[in-house]
Point group: C2
Chain length 409, copies 2
DNA sequence: GTAGTTTATTAAGGACTTTAATAAACCACT
DNA sequence: AGTGGTTTATTAAAGTCCTTAATAAACTAC
């Protein structure tokens, strides 16, 4: 079936070895040959040979020599070992989160450390698809200037968008999503300014990569991230691999089939829901709310239509009954969705990410309690530790993956 | 993180080459060196060298020579090519489907062709877990005798059971499932009679392997199989890989959260449902059914409590309104479940397997129509081509996978 | 300064692969 | 029957990469 045109020639071995060495270096800082032998199983001559080659390519630095900082002390005597370090600044990657309300861009080094970053809200929500892409492009140029880097030093870019993405790099048109976006071939969105390979994926998918990499799901192979900010989407990782289906895996439109949830169009993420429902509650209240009676109204500054998710959370934290009720309503919906996902996919861990992650102290207990009432599988629960950076960090992660993969191929 | 202790030593290359050659042979019958060169990308000397080695190990036969059957005609002149064939009888594998109502066992060769097979219903549904396993063991011995094989010629065994299975080979206890089964370590269930490695998995998971291998989902990487016989379970394959989650992925208990479906315990597969609901309908009918008025009653032989799924399907096929109604009710439930699964996982194809597969002509149109009414993703639909053999064939497939994997390691 | 210890480097040997050259086996034609 | 043409098998030579074993280097401690 699968005609593998790549014969198993000798250099394949070198590639395997180099990959092993490089991987050990990415997650470890300064290493001696002995460390690398332990990590890779290779012999000493091979390790040195591979490292020399990587040094030649610029990916690795030989650190220290005589004046290595931590070198003294650790070594019990004997010829000092050579010390190798990944050259994190040999190249860079780009991450872009083209969100519903704002755009975030960043530059990161080969370790994934973010060098420079900018977040900018859209002027208003009617900014068109093409213009959004152009804004991102302009920001990227600013960031490159700011960091003093050249576009040629960037190996790859990752981009998150709040909608499913097909394999050929097109956004799937959702009713609720930006018109015009689906018509773009996003893979070429940054051209002609930037020629780097652009990996586009949906924000929830990238969020799960991020959480597994350096967030709340490190070391967990079966995990679902509920990205619950402006929209509600799930990023699914099973068996250590991201699940994309035909591109639209993780969509939560099935909520309309779950009891207690209304029609599709109304389904947003928690932030939107918290604000919207709270506003509606207050506005629909048949009695006028007296000053001081409601923390929520207080926070909203007497303008209920301006109430935000943060206000609701803060009010709930202070015990405001109306806010607590709103939180309960929204979490109930989320819990039902989570129950379906958990039962069907049986993940070990469920991570709440996006806007609400910072309010984990308020939301998570409610969520846990409501999920417990449903007869579903019981995964561990956690709030994201990445704030609303999950998607952006995930974009960096895909870009890095791509960079390392194409690096030795 | 992952300390890979396997250094990239030279023999790794040979292993890669051998794997490529073997894989090409499994799916192709008799092959010349030229074919293998095209399939693997290896050079001619390497191909011959690998084949000679495999011949020495017994896995490959050199067929033909002078009297090869299809050899003449194809070759335009020149030195005749050596022809290699997988020695399908070099070893064997075992498949077992420990179903809810019956047990099926088989022996298959390295190509997966079933040599001998036996299906036997349980005496009654109260046969205990341990006894069921013993019965399977006895049947396997009979099959070995029948085929004239020795237990030592069997490389691996696969076993399907109608419940989730944990990684350590234990069935997950479900209310509806056989008491006592969860306490067994199924991996050692065939010992001490048979020492072969036993791969236990849930029937729906194995069904999806089978459908992809030689059923309705060949060549499809994103597919969900709804195994809808006595119970309802989903086998999920995404990105070409079986999704197991923590072992219980594919469970359909979320149906209780879907509108229009009652409590958990009542949820069975289509066969059970069709029979049960039809019986209830008939029995609850307030007017006595006149002879000839209902095809369904006719088929049931005036004993409504004995009505089977086959009868309902047959009656519906003949247009009996009551039967059509029952089919619609049952398919509605299935369609809702399928809508949730499709939306969340976005598979290309949905396969209906298990008992109902044979009745695809009746069920599929109804299913398709009802699924279409739901606002979900729209995968292609198909009925299994494996009858109720999906799980058994899948058990053979896992056993084969294991056998080939351990063969060159 | 010398013994002891740890690591780097060099050398030798083995397992693969590939390409190129040579030998074998068959057809078709005269 | 013999000879040319053609296709495939086999052998030979060269190269890459790994490993183990031996040798050299660099440093500490006494």
């Amino acid at each position: 079936m699968t005609a593998k045109r790549t014969a198993a020639t000798a250099p394949v071995l070198r590639r395997i070895s180099a990959e092993a060495v490089l991987q050990a270096m990415v997650s470890a800082g300064e290493l001696t040959a002995g460390d690398l032998i332990a990590a890779t199983g290779l012999s000493r001559p091979t390790v040195h040979s591979v490292c020399d080659e990587l040094i030649g390519l610029g990916w690795v630095l030989e650190t220290g020599g005589a004046a290595s900082p931590a070198a003294t002390g650790t070594q019990p005597g004997g010829r000092p070992s050579r010390r190798y370090t990944l050259n994190a600044c040999a190249a860079f990657v780009v991450g872009i989160d083209l969100g519903a309300t704002k755009v975030s861009c960043c530059l990161a080094d080969l370790r994934g450390r973010i060098i420079v970053e900018t977040t900018r809200p859209w002027r208003d929500e009617h900014v068109g698809a093409l213009e959004r892409v152009q804004i991102a492009r302009r920001i990227m140029q600013e960031l490159l200037d700011q960091a003093g880097l050249d576009a040629g030093q960037v190996l790859a870019a990752g981009m998150a968008i709040p909608a499913p993405v097909t394999d050929d790099g097109h956004a799937v048109a959702l009713e609720s999503y930006l018109p015009g976006m689906a018509a773009l071939d996003l893979r070429t969105a940054l051209q002609p300014d930037f020629q780097w390979p652009l990996l586009v994926d949906n924000d929830a998918n990238l969020a799960v990569l991020a959480e597994r990499w350096c967030g709340a799901a490190q070391g967990v192979d079966n995990v679902v991230v509920l990205l619950a900010g402006e929209r509600l989407g799930a990023g699914i990782c099973l068996g250590g691999r991201l699940i994309r289906g035909g591109g639209a895996a993780g969509e939560m439109r099935f909520l309309e089939l779950v009891e207690g949830v209304g029609n599709t169009d109304a389904i947003g993420g928690m932030c939107r829901e918290l604000g919207a429902i709270a506003a509606a509650e207050i506005l629909a209240g048949d009695r006028p709310v007296a000053a001081g009676e409601s923390v929520l109204v207080e926070l909203a500054g007497r303008r209920p239509e301006d109430v935000t998710a943060e206000m609701v959370v803060e009010a709930a934290r202070r015990g405001d009954p109306a806010a607590v009720e709103v939180v309960a309503v929204v979490m109930d919906r989320t819990a039902r969705a989570a129950a379906v996902v958990s039962t069907l996919l049986d993940p070990e861990l469920l991570v709440l990410a996006g806007g609400p992650a910072g309010a984990g102290d308020v939301l998570l207990p409610v969520f846990e309690q409501q999920l417990g009432q449903l007869n579903s599988a019981r995964p561990r629960l956690a709030a994201s530790t990445l704030g609303d950076h999950s998607a952006l960090v995930g974009a960096v992660r895909t870009a890095l993956d791509h960079a390392f993969e194409s690096l030795l191929g």
